[in-house]
């Protein structure tokens, strides 16, 4: 190393050490931030496992496949997550099905179609949605939205009622359907914002290539803009899904709790409880480690579920990596 510099031009030790000191400090700060987040995730996982395992071991029914949930007797814990898993996944996937097409539509409108004067306000209003607290969404959903979308639910039920998803449900407006629509609105801003960003990055050069080949605007969007934005739109959707899976307060306010031991109803128009709403609804019951453990076990499944969703998203994105420069 020293031979590299002629003796008289070798940088002075002093100036070099100053530069390195700064480098070291920044390297330390950034790597601690990086390590901290990994440690946090691992610790959360360890905490959940440590709290959950004793209760799951003491569970008298199948934790994964039972629909029962009765933890009042700590010597006879009976809890299974099947219903929670179903309601959580159903409401979130339904919310995604509604939100993703609309989000892509808004993103395309803002970036490709809207006149500049309109694009900014529209983007701003969508972003503003993200600032509404979820408790407001919950109240608004059950009081204002539910009666408005009731006719849609009735229509779906009467025309497609033979399909279990649209079968008969409950009279109350607190259905998975209502919760899903509210969740869709709640995850719309994040999906829209990220989709808009990635779609907007489409190189003009590629769009021009499509147009010069004789593509119409929509064809150019299909050929260039959407394929280019696809990985980003998928990650955006998964982020939205993650948020929908874990949303607590709004879902808790909206969903009607089914009566204990009620029959399983797969319909969107039934009530139910998600992992998050179940835990929140029963926060008052955390009076013994056994009971608490049961709820934490449910939380652990939610944790794993969001993890799996993110892993799948990564996998989908990486599969086409070589095509996305």
């Amino acid at each position: 190393m020293t031979a590299f510099y002629p003796p008289d031009t070798k940088p002075s030790q002093k100036s070099r050490s100053t530069g390195r000191g700064g480098d070291r400090a920044v390297a330390f700060l950034t790597s601690s931030a990086g390590i901290a987040i990994i440690v946090t995730v691992v610790l959360v996982g360890v905490f959940l496992l440590w709290q959950a395992i004793p209760s799951v071991m003491a569970d008298q029914v199948s934790f994964l496949f039972s629909r029962e949930w009765d933890v009042s007797d700590t010597d006879d814990l009976r809890f299974g997550i099947l219903d929670l898993l179903y309601t959580t996944v159903l409401s979130s996937v339904f919310a995604m099905a509604l939100a993703v097409p609309v989000a892509i539509g808004i993103a395309l409108y803002i970036t490709q179609y809207a006149p500049l004067k309109l694009a900014k306000p529209v983007a701003y209003v969508v972003d503003l949605l993200a600032a509404v607290p979820s408790i407001i969404f919950g109240l608004w959903g059950i009081i204002v939205l539910a009666p408005v979308i009731q006719p849609v639910a009735t229509f779906l039920n009467s025309t497609l009622g033979w399909f279990p998803l649209f079968g008969d449900g409950i009279k109350s407006p607190g259905t998975v359907f209502t919760a899903g629509v509210v969740l869709a609105i709640m995850i719309l801003p994040i999906i829209t914002a990220i989709s808009r960003e990635v779609v907007d990055q489409t190189p003009l050069l590629n769009k021009e290539a499509a147009l010069a080949l004789g593509a119409t605007k929509w064809e150019a969007i299909k050929m260039v803009v959407l394929p280019f934005g696809k990985p980003g739109i998928i990650s955006a959707s998964m982020l939205g899904l993650g948020r929908a899976l874990g949303e607590t307060i709004a879902v808790m306010i909206i969903l009607s709790k089914p009566a204990p031991n009620a029959d399983f109803n797969p319909s969107l128009f039934a009530g139910g409880e998600t992992f998050a709403s179940k835990i929140a609804n029963n926060a008052a019951e955390f009076d013994s480690p056994e009971k608490t453990g049961a709820y934490i076990a449910a939380g652990l499944v939610l944790f794993i579920l969001t993890f799996v969703v993110n892993a799948i998203a990564r996998w989908v994105i990486n599969r086409r990596k070589e095509y996305s420069e």
Partner: protein, 258 residues
């Protein structure tokens, strides 16, 4: 089929700004016509009116007539999309579709026209890639991403994509400006071959290139910043480069300005 192009009183505007003024010229079929001139003189702008790409820019607007074999492509009822299907374009920087394979890049235009027959697509892809002198280099990896090729190969891929739809005219906007000398040579050879089947119009900043590849040269200039670009002189390339009529042309090609 190569078409003859005639511009009559063409004015191009960006909103209210007149970018190119009063272009009158005739472009021969089966020949290479080069547009030369200093930056900002409207060569590219005028090139882009020939496939009406200028209208994809907000505010872009054209007046006048642009006849292709006697039909005015700027007429009110003419769909710009239809014009672009007959007038291919190769851009300054290679721009293969990044999400598509080499094969899909070549046949992208055909698919737009509704061609779905696999054997037809394969046939046309091979013919286009051969015409673009790229076939031998990529025939074993047609399913690989187009963006994985070298710059020169990518540009030839873009040329293959443009000729796959059998256009009448091929426009090239400084097609070699982002390429190394060897790739440039390959493209120049290709341009000379292309004129047997197409009308070729090329914008270039490289004087040697214009004199090497073109039959006719058009010199554009501007009177000053903010002034519209104008066609100063057009004629056989040899004459323009040896004995131009206009002093401005002489100054430009001898390197005295621009």
């Amino acid at each position: 089929m190569a078409k003859n192009i005639e511009a009559i009183d063409v004015n191009v505007y960006y909103s209210s700004f007149l970018a190119v003024e009063d272009i009158n010229m005739e472009i021969e079929p089966n020949a290479v016509t080069a547009f030369i001139g200093p930056s900002g003189c409207g060569k590219t702008t005028f090139l882009r009116t020939m496939n009406r790409m200028i209208e994809t820019i907000p505010g872009g607007r054209v007046e006048g007539q642009l006849m292709m074999n006697g039909e005015n492509t700027l007429a009110a009822g003419v769909d710009p999309v239809a014009v672009r299907r007959d007038v291919g374009m190769v851009f300054q920087r290679p721009n293969p579709f990044p999400t598509m394979s080499i094969f899909d890049n070549v046949v992208a235009g055909l698919k737009l026209n509704g061609e779905r027959n696999k054997s037809t697509l394969a046939e046309v892809a091979e013919r286009a890639l051969r015409s673009a002198n790229l076939w031998e280099e990529v025939k074993d990896r047609l399913d690989r991403p187009g963006a994985g090729l070298s710059g020169g190969q990518q540009q030839r891929l873009c040329i293959a994509r443009a000729i796959a739809v059998s256009p009448d005219v091929i426009l090239m906007d400084e097609p070699c400006s982002a390429l190394d000398p060897i790739s440039t040579l390959a493209i120049e050879d290709l341009i000379t071959e292309l004129k047997t089947e197409y009308t070729v119009v090329i914008v270039t900043h490289n004087m040697q290139q214009a004199s090497r590849v073109s039959d006719t040269t058009a010199f554009f200039n501007i009177a000053g910043v903010g002034q519209p670009g104008q066609l100063i002189e057009m004629g056989p390339t040899q004459k323009i480069f040896s004995n131009p009529d206009e002093p401005a042309t002489e100054d430009y090609i001898s390197g005295r300005f621009g």
